[in-house]
């Protein structure tokens, strides 16, 4: 199914709300992301950016609204009540279609870089070891770490760990990649190598949502920037417009602070 502009919709959120107890962290979120689009979400910490993308692969469950992935309704809630009751098996297979890269990498420390990448294809998709190995090596090459294949994560720098984490997510051949502040835990000199990998992914046509504080990346790579504050989307526009001509007062204040 296509929308008016003829582009395939990969993600659609309709009137999504999310509460943690009494605290409302997402208010009335409406988002559409089309195929091969790279969308950056910026905003002050605590604005609900991470929660928003975590709702897309069921790491958080929404309280109200609807979530569609590739036009398939995957979550619908009314006042916290699940309207769909998707079986856990289906949820797991949906999750494996959506890759996520975490701020703190979350590599499996008891496995080498190579084993980290091979684990899910072998365990979840039942791919043969040989096939998984070959694809994993291809991915390690892509992120520039084939010589580190037998290292445990503790022996890798933060930037290398994050690149392995990206390769691990790509091993499941996801159709959407989510990035949850992928460079926020890195030393400044290691940020570039991770952004390079993300940039090349974007150029290959991967659909991406990136929660980030890297304004340079947002300006250069993203098709669209979303500004969030206090659980709401306040402004949504091309990077040029957002950065040079922000409309909302809070966007202006935020950008003034981060672009000093």
């Amino acid at each position: 199914m296509n929308n008016e502009s003829g582009l395939q919709q990969m993600i659609r959120m309709e009137k999504v709300g999310k509460y943690f107890g009494n605290l409302q962290v997402l208010k009335n979120i409406d988002i559409v992301v089309t195929k091969a689009e790279v969308v950056c979400i910026i905003g002050p910490s605590g604005s609900g950016k991470s929660t928003l993308i975590r709702c897309l692969n069921h790491l958080e469950r929404i309280t109200s609204g609807r979530v569609y992935i590739e036009n398939e309704l995957i979550d619908e809630r009314v006042q916290g009540r699940d309207q769909l009751k998707i079986p856990p098996k289906k949820v797991a297979s949906l999750c494996s279609e959506i890759g996520i890269v975490f701020q703190r990498f979350n590599l499996f420390p008891h496995m080498t870089a190579l084993e980290n990448i091979m684990e899910a294809p072998v365990t979840v998709r039942k791919v043969t070891k040989k096939e998984a190995y070959e694809f994993a090596m291809e991915l390690l090459k892509k992120v520039g770490l084939e010589d580190k294949k037998d290292e445990f994560p503790s022996r890798l720098s933060g930037g290398q760990q994050q690149r392995v984490a990206i390769a691990r997510a790509l091993a499941m051949k996801p159709r959407i990649m989510l990035f949850d502040e992928p460079t926020s835990a890195l030393d400044p000199e290691l940020v570039g190598e991770v952004l390079e990998v993300m940039k090349s992914l974007a150029h290959e046509g991967m659909t991406m949502i990136v929660v980030t504080h890297e304004m340079g990346f947002a300006r250069e790579v993203c098709n669209r920037v979303i500004f969030m504050d206090k659980g709401e989307i306040l402004e949504e526009n091309t990077p040029e417009e957002i950065f040079s001509n922000p409309k909302h007062e809070r966007t202006k204040t935020f950008l003034q602070k981060v672009l000093l």
Partner: protein
């Protein structure tokens, strides 16, 4: 002195039974304890409650009483449950250590960073796959020191089965001392206990190093 040397074979025989009781009970205890621990962290409230009650009973009553209960009281209440001494001792020690080991295992599993379960789930793993491949293997290294403690405690507590006339190291020693009127036999017996605990302390240190390679 000669009497002590003459009684060494009997003493070693007792030590062997102590050794067997400890090893077998800890292995069964670990296995049972893993399931109890998974039950305690299960989202199924009923399974959680059942496991909680098990642990509550076996940690909350004396081991000596549990041994008595299994060997004497059960057969009196229901005669088909009559057990010979050796199986009764194995069962009592295994059931008891399972309760302690369950709490050790639960703590180790729950100490694993929450991001690990999230990463596994995001890759499409089921809860069971994530537990088996990601969470439980990471808990091994953290388990080793407290399991080593439990092992040594169990080795010494196994002396309690002498109460049902099982001639492990402690009872053998008492028998020899009574028969010969020579209490000096307690010295080599203590040395044997020390030897066993020392051997296992070393084994557990080795294991800990082996599982530390990735840290």
């Amino acid at each position: 002195m000669q009497r002590i040397i003459n009684s060494m074979p009997a003493l070693l025989h007792g030590a062997l039974l102590t050794f067997e009781l400890t090893i077998v009970s800890i292995i069964i205890g670990l296995f049972l304890g893993l399931f109890l621990a998974l039950g305690r962290i299960s989202r199924n409230k009923l399974i959680d409650k059942i496991c909680w009650v098990y642990i509550w009973i076996f940690r909350g009553t004396p081991l000596l009483m549990q041994i008595f209960f299994i060997y004497y009281a059960l057969p009196m209440m229901y005669s088909p449950l009559t057990l010979p001494q050796v199986p009764a001792a194995f069962i009592a020690l295994s059931l008891n250590s399972a309760a302690y080991l369950a709490e050790i295992i639960r703590a180790a599993i729950q100490s694993i960073d929450k991001g690990q379960m999230e990463a596994a789930k995001a890759l499409g793993m089921s809860y069971g796959q994530a537990m088996k491949r990601i969470i439980v293997p990471q808990s091994y290294r953290r388990l080793i020191p407290p399991v080593g403690n439990e092992f040594i405690a169990l080795l010494k507590d196994s002396s309690l089965v002498s109460i049902i006339a099982l001639t492990e190291l402690m009872r053998t020693t008492t028998q020899i001392s009574n028969a010969t009127g020579n209490a000096a036999i307690y010295i080599p017996a203590a040395a044997l206990y020390l030897l066993l605990t020392t051997v296992f302390t070393v084994v557990f240190e080795k294991l800990e190093r082996k599982y530390s390679i990735y840290e």
